[in-house]
Symmetry: C2
Subunit: 194 residues, 2 copies
């Protein structure tokens, strides 16, 4: 009973303020006082909802990542063919970046800086299970080349850059040989020209 009297609206206001301010100024350049002001709350109140600043941004990350994957997988289901599955997910990701651009920008910042705890990154990855399953199915069916799963995490961030990416922050690693192989595969599959 006790813990749940805290207002969900206030929590949401804090999360939204965090997204907007971090997008504009970056994590370390947004003071708690500013987040509080934008959420119409006292600085001290933040600590009733979150342990500290790091916890606030971690939780915000997980929340946005969760909504991202929910959006990405909304029109997908497991009975689809591998090709159709990737196509459907691709289109939803594009739509998310188009329609939820503030959220997308926030994720881009989180995914390219050291601002999120490794633990929370891992937590975010967990929501990608449907994509991992699709990937595995594609490999089983011989439709997808036998590349590292590392590529898949890159795909989940950006379905095209996954062919190009070299760095993903955190513990997901790929060795240079795999990367080189991937680059070669990648070139043959793109066309910048008609």
């Amino acid at each position: 009973m006790a813990a749940l009297q805290k207002s969900i609206d206030k929590r949401n206001a804090l999360i939204n303020a965090t997204i907007e301010l971090v997008n504009n100024d970056g994590f370390h350049a947004t003071p708690m006082s500013k987040i509080a002001k934008m959420a119409c709350v006292s600085p001290a109140t933040i600590y009733l909802y979150f342990e500290n600043k790091q916890d606030l941004v971690n939780k915000t990350y997980i929340e946005v990542k969760t909504s991202y994957t929910a959006y990405a997988f909304a029109t997908y289901n497991e009975t689809m063919s591998v090709e159709e599955g990737f196509e459907v997910i691709w289109k939803r990701i594009a739509e998310f970046k188009l329609k939820e651009s503030a959220n997308a920008m926030f994720l881009a910042q989180c995914d390219n800086t050291p601002m999120i705890d490794e633990e929370s990154r891992q937590e975010g990855i967990k929501h990608l299970q449907p994509l991992l399953d699709l990937w595995a199915r594609g490999k089983k069916e011989g439709i997808i080349k036998p590349l590292s799963d590392y590529m898949l995490y890159a795909y989940s961030i950006n379905p095209l850059s996954f062919l190009m990416i070299t760095q993903i922050r955190g513990s997901v690693k790929m060795d240079k040989e795999e990367l080189e192989q991937a680059y070669q595969a990648a070139w043959s599959s793109i066309k910048v020209c008609e």
Copy 2:
């Protein structure tokens, strides 16, 4: 004479320390004192080489971006066909991300956060002129679809994600209609499957 007695080695040490520390901790979480220590220099000495912290990171960005574009265009020349030009540049960018991964990671952070001044971003873009020219040539020859130049900046960061990207920090903008058109074009040109 005066200004040039300052050691270029010391300046380089400061730039390199900035790259490494910002990669690990982020811009605002790397104190000047730490940069100084890693460069084996007094904090006060940094201010003989750079105006302030912002100037240090701006200059570092421009330096890395310059080396990036130099690398990307090293094997390209204007007598090549449009197709060959893009292929050659693509391969060099891949190589850069592979071999200069610390520099690539630093750029990714700069390109996805508000840590660099708008003015310095623009300065970085200037080095992309050869790519802009190639792009224009491709459109003139009718080889490249009539898409926004905005796409090209995305390409220069990541030749594949340019088909997917929605956000580039700074003043380069693309309207939603253009983006949507681009996404549709993009899907038909990629294959995640063999």
